[in-house]
């Protein structure tokens, strides 16, 4: 039922990855790849959003632009066409940076910091989730939200694969919306299958949703990570050969670390988890196996992302506050990991 534990497996190797130069000066809150090009953004607690270009031929990354919030930036995302960067921060504001005109504008406002931001291309709207217990939809030209949705608790994590939106809140609330029908009321309100605070959520598609020229793209479930080193794989509809389960990860000896990030591979549908323990792993949920594990990079990994074709895995090493305020300075760096095909390719299930 469970995956093999990282600590017991011998396949851990130290990642030797490229460090992005001129990284942020404070912890990274999010990394996000453009859906159309190898540009990526890094949002940081130092109030800046930095935009880099990853050059595939030279294997280097160069800074392209940066803009700032008044206070730490907690999230960032790209528009579908890759022309705009959106970000939300502790200044309760959502901002939009236009790549072509290099202009920054405010697009959203909440009563509390904005923890999550997404661009919903089907409606050309920006979705923001905040600790003020609301979701708001913005059309970027108006200063008032198109729609405000009340949540049962503070928004901690959200992800969507149109039309399904999954929002993870404090107190383990999980709300599932169908954006094509009614974005106002959740189709399902439930309590997280994990017993501890929700840390990250990532939706996934059905198997064929990841193949090329996919017609049948159904969001079939979501992965949810908690502060107690555990990931739940939840299907919306339980079927014969795929039912929800959870597994432990990011634990070393008796220390249990938070699962900080879950990213699904855009073409294989396998996924990564990264934790406060400074390790990241690739998993296959269908065969319930760990595909690849890496040893700790020496500090928490706060955010991860794949690029649009899944050849680059970007991850941020920075302090995640899991031990509260600590005196010694923590290293902050963003790494680009060249993804090996065999590390992320789904494997046939193990015989038992």
């Amino acid at each position: 039922m469970s995956y093999s534990r990282p600590s017991t497996s011998a396949s851990n190797e130290a990642p030797k990855d490229y460090e992005v130069p001129h990284g942020p000066n404070d912890s990274v809150s999010a990394v996000s790849f453009s859906p159309v090009a190898d540009f990526f953004t890094v949002s940081s607690w130092d109030t800046y959003v930095r935009i880099y270009e990853a050059n595939m031929s030279t294997g280097a990354a160069i800074g392209k632009a940066l803009y700032n919030h008044e206070k730490p930036v907690l999230c960032c995302a790209w528009s579908k066409d890759g022309t705009k960067v959106i970000s939300g921060g502790a200044d309760n504001a959502g901002r939009c940076f236009d790549i072509t005109s290099q202009q920054v504008g405010q697009i959203a406002v909440h009563d509390q910091p904005i923890k999550c931001i997404k661009y919903i291309e089907n409606h050309n709207l920006v979705l923001t989730g905040s600790w003020d217990k609301t979701l708001k939809y913005w059309d970027m030209r108006s200063s008032t939200p198109v729609l405000t949705v009340n949540l049962p608790e503070r928004c901690y994590a959200l992800d969507f694969s149109y039309p399904v939106l999954v929002v993870g809140c404090a107190e383990r609330h999980v709300q599932i919306f169908d954006l094509s029908k009614d974005p106002r009321t959740p189709v399902k309100s439930l309590i997280s299958p994990l017993k501890w605070q929700t840390r990250c959520i990532s939706t996934f598609l059905n198997r064929s949703g990841y193949s090329m020229g996919n017609v049948d793209r159904d969001c079939t479930g979501y992965a949810i990570g908690s502060i107690e080193g555990r990931v739940g794989i939840q299907y919306f509809e339980e079927k014969e050969n795929q039912s929800s389960f959870s597994f432990k990860c990011h634990r070393e000896n008796n220390h249990v670390h938070a699962v900080n990030a879950i990213s699904f591979h855009p073409t294989y549908g396998t996924f990564s988890t990264a934790g406060s323990d400074g390790t990241f792993n690739f998993w296959d949920k269908d065969s319930k196996q760990r595909l690849k594990g890496f040893s700790s990079i020496g500090g928490p990994i706060t955010s991860t992302t794949f690029n649009s074709n899944g050849s680059i895995f970007a991850y941020a090493l920075s302090y995640d506050w899991s031990k509260g305020l600590i005196s010694q300075p923590q290293r902050t760096a963003v790494f680009l990991h060249a993804v090996k095909d065999e590390d992320v390719k789904p494997k046939p299930p193990k015989k038992r």
Binding site: S29, W45, E70, K71, P72, L74, A90, D91, N92, A93, Q106, V109, P113, K115, W131, S143, P152, E153, R154, Y156, A170, E171, R172, H173, L190, I191, P193, K195, W196, Q197, R199, I227, E228, Q234, S243, S244, F245, S246, N254, H255, V256, H257, A258, S276, D277, D320, W321, S322, K323, G324, L325
Partner: protein
């Protein structure tokens, strides 16, 4: 001193079938093989609750009896793991059986070291003296003896707790005990002489009965829990007691209070998908209810014993970040350096 000498008296024994074993490891093996084995696929689970959940989830069937158990001990609701969770009454009964039946023979053959028959006789004499004493005074269930035995319980609880819940962080000073909110000792200026130090358990004496509802008006669920307790009725306490977690749940439900009560309640109501139902708090609580027949010596032995084994078998799991109510980012954002100034915010939003 007495504790140390006596701790070897009790051999680990199985509550389900009254067999005793060389050490607790063997006992646990026995329980897994005999009582916690799934009848459908022979998977060995850790607890009866675990088996119930497993059978329900994997085989979609319900199971309500523990296989190979004695009559009256087939309940799957009692959480037994090794020596943990054995109802006090049964524990004492077992002790009695040991002491009265063939104490010397049994212990000589099976526990040849360290314990002389003299000591056992002495202990027996002590025990009998106490029993006699209490019966001559006509107060077999006197409050004084009751309270002294109870006083030892809090030290036992955390171990029991972590044992059953396998939940890290509990040992690190956090009180997640569902009973915590009801401690009568919190009442200022209220003297409860009968139960000087049992913070985890409401008083059983009629003296304190009218207090409930008066002094804790903040949580309305409270008065419902203790609606009208018959004075001086000891048995009623153990009847009422098991209801506590449920009452907590109904007390908190839709309003989403952020109190501890709310949280513990929520964790107790893991509904459909969760795989951890074996941890439902209800089961451990009632077992504490009926200790009145005991004398102090016996309970001490039991406790030192269970405590010891608990320490041995429970790997101390530590959550690196264990605050289930507030996320790391929220805490971090509270820091002066990162905090957003409200005035600034108003200015800005008016401009916007």
């Amino acid at each position: 001193m007495g504790k140390k000498k006596n701790k070897k008296v009790v051999r680990p024994w199985c509550w389900y079938c009254e067999r005793d074993f060389e050490d607790e490891k063997v006992l646990i093996q026995h329980q897994k093989a005999k009582h916690f084995k799934c009848p459908h696929c022979n998977k060995k689970l850790n607890t009866a609750g675990g088996m119930v959940v497993h059978v329900a989830q994997v085989h979609k069937e319900t199971i309500d009896t523990v296989p190979n158990a004695l009559k009256g001990r087939e309940s799957t609701d009692v959480e037994i793991f090794g020596m943990e969770g054995i109802p006090q009454a049964d524990m004492i009964a077992h002790m009695h059986a040991l002491e009265t039946d063939q104490p010397t023979k049994k212990i000589k053959t099976e526990e040849p070291m360290e314990l002389s028959s003299e000591e056992i006789k002495k202990q027996l004499a002590q025990h009998q003296a106490m029993m006699q004493n209490s019966s001559t005074t006509g107060q077999p269930f006197s409050y004084s003896s009751y309270s002294t035995t109870q006083q030892n319980m809090p030290s036992l609880m955390p171990h029991q707790y972590s044992q059953f819940y396998q939940r890290p962080g509990v040992n690190s000073g956090q009180t997640y005990s569902p009973v915590t909110p009801y401690r009568p000792n919190q009442i200022p200026g209220q003297s409860l002489p009968v139960i000087p130090s049992q913070p985890w358990r409401p008083s059983v004496s009629g003296v304190s009965q009218p207090l409930y509802g008066q002094i804790q008006p903040a949580t309305t669920g409270q008065s419902a829990i203790y609606p009208s307790r018959p004075a001086n009725s000891v048995a009623s306490a153990s009847q009422i007691y098991p209801q506590v977690p449920h009452a907590t749940v109904s007390g908190m439900s839709p309003s989403g209070q952020h109190s501890y009560t709310a949280y513990t309640g929520a964790s107790a109501t893991n509904t459909t998908i969760t795989q951890y139902q074996e941890t439902a708090p209800t089961s451990t609580v009632p077992s504490v209810g009926d200790t009145m027949t005991s004398n102090e010596t016996t309970t001490n032995i039991i406790q030192s014993n269970t405590q010891q084994t608990a320490q041995k078998t429970v790997p101390k799991v530590v959550l690196v970040y264990s605050d289930n109510e507030v996320s790391m980012e929220e805490k971090r954002a509270e820091l002066e350096k990162y905090r957003y100034n409200e005035d600034q915010f108003r200015q800005q939003s008016s401009m916007f």
